[in-house]
C-alpha cells in the first residue's frame, strides 16, 4: 500500500515541473528586462535598437575593440610601459656586463654607486626597474640633466638593463623595497612629527598620499625608488623640480601633483628624514628593518 502510494507520488511529483518552470520563468523575465528593456531606454540617453541594447547588455559597446580612426600622438611622460617583455628584459640584466658599463658612472655616482656628493643620487641598491626607466627617460629627453641625456643615448636598452642589474645588486646603499612590513606605532595621522606624519600617513586634506606607500619603508610600487639613505639634498632638489614642473617624467603626474602641495619646509623635512644613511640609528626617527 505504502509502496504504491510512493510509486504514484514518484510519477506525479509536481516538483520537477515547478523547479524547471520557475527557473525558466526567472531567466526569461530577467533576460527580457535586462537585455531588451533596461539597456534600451536610458534616462537622458538615446533609445537603442534591440540589437544594440543586447550588445550593451553583454558589455560590448562601440568603444570596445580596436579604434577605427587614427589617434593623435600622445604626450607621454615616458616611453616605458611595464609590460611583461620590459620586466623580463630588466630581470634578465647581466650584472657582470653591467659592472663594465658602470665604470663610467663612478666619477659622479661614487664607487659602486654609493654617492659621496650631495649633487648626485646613490644608485647602489636602487631597484633595477627604476634605473632602467630613468635611463630611458634621459635617452628620450623626457627627463633632462646635463651629461645624463648623452649617456642615456650612448647606452643600448640591453646596456641599461645590465647596468641597472649591477647597481641593484650592490649592497650598502639603498634598501630593497618590499610591500611587506611589520607594523609599528606612530605611523598614523595622529603622529605629531610632521615629516613622519607625511611619510607614513600623508595629508588627506590636501590629497597627499603617504610617501612610504610607494617609496618605502613598508611600501613598494614598481618604478618608484627607495628613498631611505638617499642624498637628502638630491631628494630636496627633485621635489622642487617636480613642484616647478622642471621634471615631468612621472607617469600620471603623481609626483608633480604631490610636490606642488608641499611647502619648501616640508620638502626639506621629508628629504632630511629619508636622507639618513641606511643602518644609522636616528633618535625618534625612522626605524630601519
Amino acid at each position: 500500500m505504502a509502496a504504491r502510494e510512493q510509486g504514484s507520488l514518484r510519477t506525479h511529483s509536481p516538483w520537477p515541473m515547478i523547479g524547471w518552470g520557475t527557473a525558466a520563468g526567472i531567466i526569461i523575465v530577467a533576460g527580457v528586462l535586462g537585455f531588451g528593456f533596461l539597456d534600451r531606454y536610458q534616462q537622458g540617453g538615446p533609445t537603442l535598437s534591440l540589437w544594440n541594447a543586447i550588445c550593451h547588455g553583454l558589455g560590448i559597446t562601440a568603444d570596445t575593440g580596436p579604434a577605427s580612426e587614427p589617434q593623435p600622438p600622445l604626450q607621454t611622460p615616458t616611453r616605458i610601459a611595464w609590460t611583461g617583455a620590459t620586466l623580463t628584459q630588466i630581470s634578465n640584466g647581466n650584472a657582470q656586463h653591467g659592472a663594465f658599463v658602470a665604470a663610467n658612472c663612478t666619477a659622479c655616482h661614487g664607487d659602486q654607486g654609493k654617492s659621496q656628493s650631495a649633487l648626485y643620487p646613490t644608485l647602489a641598491g636602487m631597484d633595477a626597474a627604476v634605473i632602467y626607466k630613468q635611463l630611458d627617460d634621459f635617452r628620450s629627453s623626457h627627463r633632462s640633466w646635463g651629461a645624463m641625456n648623452a649617456i642615456g643615448q650612448a647606452l643600448s636598452l640591453q646596456d641599461s638593463a645590465d647596468v641597472a642589474a649591477y647597481f641593484a645588486t650592490q649592497r650598502g646603499g639603498l634598501p630593497t623595497l618590499t610591500g611587506n612590513r611589520v607594523p609599528e606605532p606612530g605611523r598614523s595621522l595622529r603622529e605629531s612629527d610632521p615629516a613622519k606624519r607625511l611619510i607614513f600617513a600623508g595629508d588627506p586634506e590636501r590629497g597627499i598620499p603617504p610617501c612610504s606607500a610607494c617609496h618605502g619603508p613598508g611600501g613598494y610600487k614598481l618604478g618608484a625608488p627607495a628613498l631611505q639613505g638617499q642624498q637628502p639634498n638630491y631628494i630636496d632638489e627633485q621635489l622642487i623640480a617636480f613642484a616647478q614642473g622642471m621634471r615631468q617624467n612621472d607617469i600620471f603626474e603623481q609626483m608633480r601633483i604631490i610636490a606642488r602641495g608641499l611647502t619648501p619646509d616640508e620638502m626639506h623635512a621629508v628629504a632630511v628624514f629619508y636622507g639618513v644613511r641606511a643602518g644609522e640609528p636616528r633618535a625618534g626617527g625612522l626605524a630601519l628593518r
Binding site: 511529483s13 535586462g34 570596445t64 631597484d127 618590499t178 610591500g179 611589520v182 598614523s188 595621522l189 613598508g218
Partner: protein
C-alpha cells in the same frame, strides 16, 4: 565520548578559539578608524588586522563551525555513528594547517589583501596555499556529508531523510558550488601569479570568479543558523515545527538561488555588461523567498510552542515562550537582526540603489548584522545546546548565557546602526584613518565613537562566551537528555523524491549558472573582451636578478 562527538567538539573549539582574538582585532580596528587615540597606530597595521579579522571570521570560524555542526547533526539525526571518521580527522588536520599557515603569513605582513581574492592585490603564495588547504580540507567534509546521507537513504529506502540531515547536506553541496569559483581562481590565476610563473593577470576574470564564491559563501555561513531555526528552536520552545516541507523547500531554494547571484557585488566593475548585472540582481531578489518562508515558519512554530504552554490571544503566546532558554532568546535576536540586515541587503543588491552605498560602511554594517549578528548568535545558541550533549556536562550557566546573548545583540546594534548612517554619509569601508578635521568627515566622528563602544561590548560578550564554554567543559559530568530535533506538526511519512535528494536541484542550479555566469566568465577566455591585463609585481624587480 563518541568519536563523532569528539570530532564535533574539536571543530567547534577551534572555531571559538579563533573567534575571540578576531573579535579583539575588530574592536581595535574600530578604535583605529575613530577620532580617539588608538594603541599601535600604524595605518598598515589596520590593513593587516582587517585581513586577519576577515580571514579568520569569514573563512576559518565558519568552516570549522559548519564542519563540526555537520558531524554532530549527522550522528544525532540519522541515529547511527558517522561513517568516515578517519577522513574527517584528516580533513580537520588539513584545515587547521591551512588556517595556521594563512594566519602566520598575514601576521608577518606578507598578505595584506583585505581577506579578498581580488586581484590585482596579490599576497604571498603561502597565504593562498593556506586558503587552498582550508577549502580543500573542507571538501572532505562535503563528500562525507553527501556519503552519509546517500548511504542512509540506501539503507532506508523510501524513508524521508531527517530534515536536519537534509539541510546539512544542502549546506555541504552549496559550499562545494560556492568554493568552486575561488578554487579555480587560486589554482589558475592567483597562485601562478604569486609564484611568479605568470607576469600578467586578468583582473576581470579573477574578480568574476571570486564573485561566484562571494555571495554563496554567506549562505554557507548562514545555513547552520537556519538548521537551528528549523530543527532545534521549535523543540527548545516546547512546540513543533510548523511544516517539514517548508523546511525542505527553504534549503532547496537557498541552494539554488544563492550561487548565480554573485555579480551583485560587482556593479561598479566595468568588465561585466549591464544585462548580466541586472540578471543577477534580479535573481538575488529570489534569495529573499527562503528567508521569508523561514521567518513565517519559525514564527508559526514559536506560536505553536507558546500556545502549547498556555499562551492566549493574538500576542499572548509570545510571553508564554520559555525565554530563559538561550535558544529561544537567540532566535528572537537573530530574526530581528536578520530583518534589519536583510532590508539593508535589498539596497546593496538593487542595481540602481547600490550606487548610493557602494563600498561604504553601509556594506560592512549589512554583513555584520547578517553574519556577525543573525548567524553568529545562532552559533552561540547551537553551542549552548550542543555542549552538554557533546561533553556530557551541564551548561554553566544559562543565566550567564542569556547575558552573553543580550550583550551580543546590543553590541551588534550599537556597532552597526552608526555604520549604516556613516555609510550613507559616504564613509568608505576598509580605510584605516580619517582626517576628522575635514568638514566632510567631521560629522562622522561621534557616530564612529558610538560604534567603538559597541565593539567593546561585543568583546566583553565574546570573552563571556569562552568563559561559559570553558566553565561547562570543566564542570562535573552529569546525565543530560539526548539532543532531540523538533518534530513537525505533520511528520512526513513519505516525501517526493525531489524533496528527498538534490539531483533535480543541482541540475537546475547548473542551468542557472550557465545562464548567469557562462558569458560573464566565458568572455574573458574566448572573446578577449576584457580590459588589458594588469601588471602586478609583488616585490622589487631586483629581487629576481640572480
Amino acid at each position: 565520548m563518541q568519536n563523532s562527538s569528539r570530532l564535533a567538539l574539536y571543530h567547534l573549539w577551534v572555531a571559538f578559539a579563533l573567534f575571540l582574538p578576531a573579535i579583539a582585532l575588530g574592536a581595535w580596528q574600530m578604535l583605529m578608524r575613530s577620532p580617539l587615540p588608538a594603541p599601535f597606530d600604524d595605518t598598515n597595521a589596520y590593513y593587516t588586522s582587517v585581513t586577519l579579522h576577515g580571514t579568520v571570521m569569514a573563512y576559518a570560524v565558519t568552516t570549522f563551525f559548519a564542519m563540526g555542526f555537520g558531524y554532530a547533526v549527522t550522528a544525532t539525526s540519522l541515529g547511527r555513528p558517522l561513517r568516515g571518521v578517519v577522513p574527517a580527522w584528516i580533513g580537520f588536520a588539513i584545515c587547521l594547517i591551512g588556517t595556521v599557515m594563512a594566519a602566520v603569513i598575514v601576521l608577518l605582513g606578507r598578505a595584506t589583501v583585505l581577506y579578498t581574492f581580488y586581484p590585482p592585490l596579490i599576497a604571498s603564495p603561502w597565504y593562498y596555499f593556506g586558503a587552498l588547504l582550508l577549502i580543500g580540507g573542507s571538501m572532505i567534509w562535503v563528500v562525507l556529508m553527501i556519503y552519509n546521507m546517500s548511504t542512509w537513504k540506501r539503507d532506508n529506502p523510501g524513508q524521508p531523510v531527517p530534515l536536519a540531515m537534509f539541510a546539512i547536506t544542502a549546506t555541504a553541496i552549496l559550499w562545494a558550488w560556492a568554493a568552486s569559483g575561488t578554487i579555480i581562481e587560486l589554482l589558475f590565476i592567483l597562485i601562478p601569479q604569486a609564484l611568479g610563473i605568470t607576469t600578467q593577470i586578468d583582473v576581470g576574470l579573477g574578480r568574476t570568479l571570486f564573485s561566484v564564491t562571494l555571495h554563496s559563501i554567506v549562505y554557507f555561513w548562514l545555513m547552520p543558523a537556519y538548521i537551528a531555526f528549523y530543527t532545534l528552536a521549535p523543540q527548545a520552545a516546547g512546540g513543533r515545527l510548523y511544516s517539514d516541507t517548508a523546511g525542505r523547500l527553504t534549503f532547496i531554494m537557498l541552494l539554488v538561488f544563492s550561487v548565480p547571484v554573485g555579480l551583485h557585488h560587482m556593479f561598479a566593475d566595468p568588465e561585466i555588461g549591464a544585462g548580466f548585472k541586472f540578471l543577477q540582481s534580479f535573481l538575488t531578489f529570489f534569495v529573499a523567498l527562503p528567508t521569508l518562508l523561514t521567518v513565517f515558519s519559525i514564527c508559526a512554530s514559536m506560536e505553536i510552542g507558546g500556545r502549547a504552554r498556555g499562551g492566549r490571544g493574538l500576542f499572548g503566546w509570545l510571553w508564554a515562550l520559555p525565554w530563559q532558554e538561550p535558544m529561544v532568546l537567540a532566535v528572537a535576536f537573530s530574526l530581528v537582526m536578520l530583518g534589519l540586515g536583510g532590508f539593508g541587503g535589498f539596497i546593496n543588491m538593487s542595481y540602481a540603489m547600490n550606487n548610493m552605498i557602494h563600498n561604504t560602511a553601509w556594506v560592512t554594517a549589512h554583513f555584520h548584522l547578517i553574519w556577525g549578528g543573525a548567524t553568529v548568535i545562532m552559533y552561540f545558541a547551537i553551542a549552548y545546546e550542543m555542549w552538554p550533549r557533546i561533553t556530557g556536562k551541564p551548561l554553566r550557566s544559562k543565566a550567564l548565557a542569556r547575558w552573553q546573548l543580550w550583550l551580543w545583540f546590543a553590541g551588534m546594534l550599537i556597532v552597526t546602526i552608526p555604520w549604516h548612517i556613516t555609510g550613507v554619509m559616504g564613509q568608505p569601508r576598509r580605510v584605516a584613518a580619517f582626517d576628522y578635521n575635514d568638514p566632510f568627515v567631521a560629522p562622522m566622528g561621534p557616530l564612529v565613537i558610538i560604534s567603538v563602544i559597541g565593539g567593546l561590548i561585543l568583546l566583553v560578550s565574546a570573552i563571556l562566551l569562552i568563559t561559559i564554554l570553558v566553565r561547562s567543559q570543566l564542570s562535573e559530568r552529569r546525565l543530560s537528555e539526548p539532543l532531540r530535533y523538533a518534530l513537525a506538526v505533520n511528520p512526513p511519512r513519505t516525501v517526493p523524491p525531489s524533496l528527498n535528494g538534490f539531483a533535480l536541484w543541482n541540475a537546475i542550479l547548473l542551468v542557472l549558472m550557465v545562464f548567469a555566469y557562462g558569458y560573464p566568465i566565458g568572455q574573458f577566455l574566448f572573446l578577449k573582451s576584457t580590459v588589458p591585463p594588469y601588471e602586478v609585481t609583488p616585490q622589487a624587480v631586483s629581487a629576481e636578478i640572480k
